[in-house]
């Protein structure tokens, strides 16, 4: 493999037409702990698994409010995520100040993508090592976007990124046709079910390592508190994905 000849910096193409530095940056996202998002006609739900560096440490938060109508979940380098988070928040504040309305979601994701792309076309810079799931609501509807270190962005009905996210995506492929008409509670339970597929055998979901954020047409972005998380995790035991109701 002659990868090492073409992977020193962003300004070198490989003969196969790849920018290896950008691909390596996407690897960093895959190493981050899982976060996923799913949406219905009215709500977007973000679920993440929080990592604890050691017994002595706290859990790393993975979801951040950008504005009342928008939030992100991150996977990858948290420090890079902080930079993008601050940028998005500032853009939303300035937009609100000038236009007295909420920043359209797709437009802000586009700005983040532009910023990310810029880092992939310079000899002296490196790409951001973080992928974002952007949940937002604007007059165009309910949105879930994914951004990449490459500067690409995509809109999704549901998506999972990070470590072992394929398991969650497989769950989504089976059930996403139900999400559009799901209630908020059903959506949260689907999200947690998908999250459960992606954890290791010796791990379990609890109110400390799970983070759930919800956003709705009439609901500002909010995190579920510890008690609510506990209740949902209990409900998870009897949740039937097909019928979307609790069964014994």
């Amino acid at each position: 493999m002659l990868k090492h000849l073409y992977d020193t910096d962003c300004v070198t193409w490989s003969p196969q037409g790849k920018l290896f530095q950008v691909e390596y940056a996407m690897e960093a996202v895959k190493q981050g702990s899982i976060c996923l998002g799913l949406k219905s006609n009215e709500y977007v739900v973000l679920c993440s698994l929080k990592r604890q560096p050691s017994e002595l440490a706290g859990y790393q938060e993975k979801q951040f409010k950008i504005d009342d109508h928008m939030a992100i979940a991150i996977a990858g380098l948290t420090a890079d995520a902080r930079v993008l988070c601050k940028y998005m928040r500032t853009e939303c504040l300035e937009y609100k100040y000038t236009y007295e309305s909420h920043h359209p979601v797709g437009r802000l994701v586009f700005k983040v993508a532009e910023k990310s792309q810029h880092k992939t076309q310079s000899g002296a810079k490196r790409p951001y090592g973080v992928g974002l799931l952007v949940a937002g609501i604007d007059p165009n509807g309910v949105h879930l976007f994914e951004t990449c270190p490459s500067g690409n962005y995509y809109e999704y009905k549901c998506q999972a990124i990070g470590s072992r996210s394929q398991a969650a995506r497989t769950y989504f492929e089976s059930w996403f046709h139900l999400f559009e008409k799901s209630t908020l509670e059903q959506l949260i339970l689907h999200g947690l079910s998908a999250l459960k597929k992606a954890i290791m055998e010796d791990e379990e979901l609890n109110e400390r390592n799970v983070e759930v954020g919800i956003l709705g047409k009439n609901q500002k972005f909010i995190h579920l508190n510890a008690q609510e998380l506990k209740d949902y995790i209990v409900k998870l035991e009897t949740f039937n994905a097909n019928t979307q109701i609790q069964q014994e």
Binding site: K65, R89, L93, K96, Y97, E100
Partner: protein, 239 residues
């Protein structure tokens, strides 16, 4: 050095300008307009009540009968402003933006005391082209007791139990001094309950609307408690 007395006296006596030299530039354009109206705020243990009329005027003209002078900045505090409406909007926008940034950076909403100081600094930053706003910041302190801060146009502020600003200020503040503090009152019963104080506030606005042409239409009242915000709107004279 010997200074002749007359020269010295020149520094103390201001010569009146000769009548011929005075040119009145009364038709020069002014960036300021007084959109008038009255606001008041009263702090009591456990709550703060803020009220403002909803009439917007310019000279003898009414611009709107339904314009709010109150702006809730955080869960616990409200800005009430009399003066120039455009400056109120600009000030409110600045504070809303700045307080949202504060909340992102500190992961908690700014306390009323913090907002009070922020407002003072912002007003003073425009010392040489002031916001034509006469503000009251009403909110709950750290113990959830009602507190009112009153400001001048350039940011001098002080904590008070109640305050009034605007075109009806003189009419209303005398009534509140009498009713809430018992000044010059023969029967010194001070109202204790929220309902009594609300009645007094409604009466104050009715009185102000009687005598002040710039006050009237509706009075909008916000009651802030730890449990949340309640909003009441009552009609006033429309003439």
């Amino acid at each position: 050095m010997y200074i002749p007395v007359n020269d010295m006296l020149k520094h103390f006596k201001q010569d009146a300008p000769a009548m011929a030299n005075i040119t009145h530039k009364s038709d020069q354009w002014s960036p300021y307009h007084d959109n008038s109206g009255t606001v008041l705020a009263v702090g009591i243990p456990g709550a703060v009540i803020v009220a403002g009329d909803t009439r917007l005027s310019n000279g003898y003209n009414i611009l709107s009968r339904d314009a709010t002078k109150l702006s809730q900045l955080t869960d616990k505090c409200v800005l009430a402003t009399a003066g120039q409406y455009a400056d109120f909007i600009a000030l409110r926008k600045f504070l809303q933006q700045r307080l949202q940034l504060y909340e992102f950076q500190n992961e908690v909403q700014a306390s009323t005391e913090t907002v009070a100081h922020l407002l003072s600094r912002e007003l003073y930053s425009r010392r040489f082209f002031p916001y034509y706003t006469f503000n009251l910041l009403a909110g709950l302190d750290e113990n959830n007791h009602g507190v009112v801060y009153g400001y001048d146009a350039i940011g001098s502020y002080d904590k008070m139990t109640y305050g009034v600003q605007g075109s009806g200020q003189e009419l209303v503040v005398a009534v509140l001094d009498n009713q809430l503090k018992g000044y010059n009152k023969i029967n010194k019963t001070i109202p204790q309950t929220r309902e009594e104080i609300l009645d007094i506030i409604l009466d104050c606005f009715s009185c102000a609307a009687e005598r002040d042409i710039h006050t009237g239409d509706n009075v909008e009242i916000l009651i802030i408690t730890a449990a949340g915000t309640e909003r009441i709107v009552k009609p006033l004279r429309k003439d």
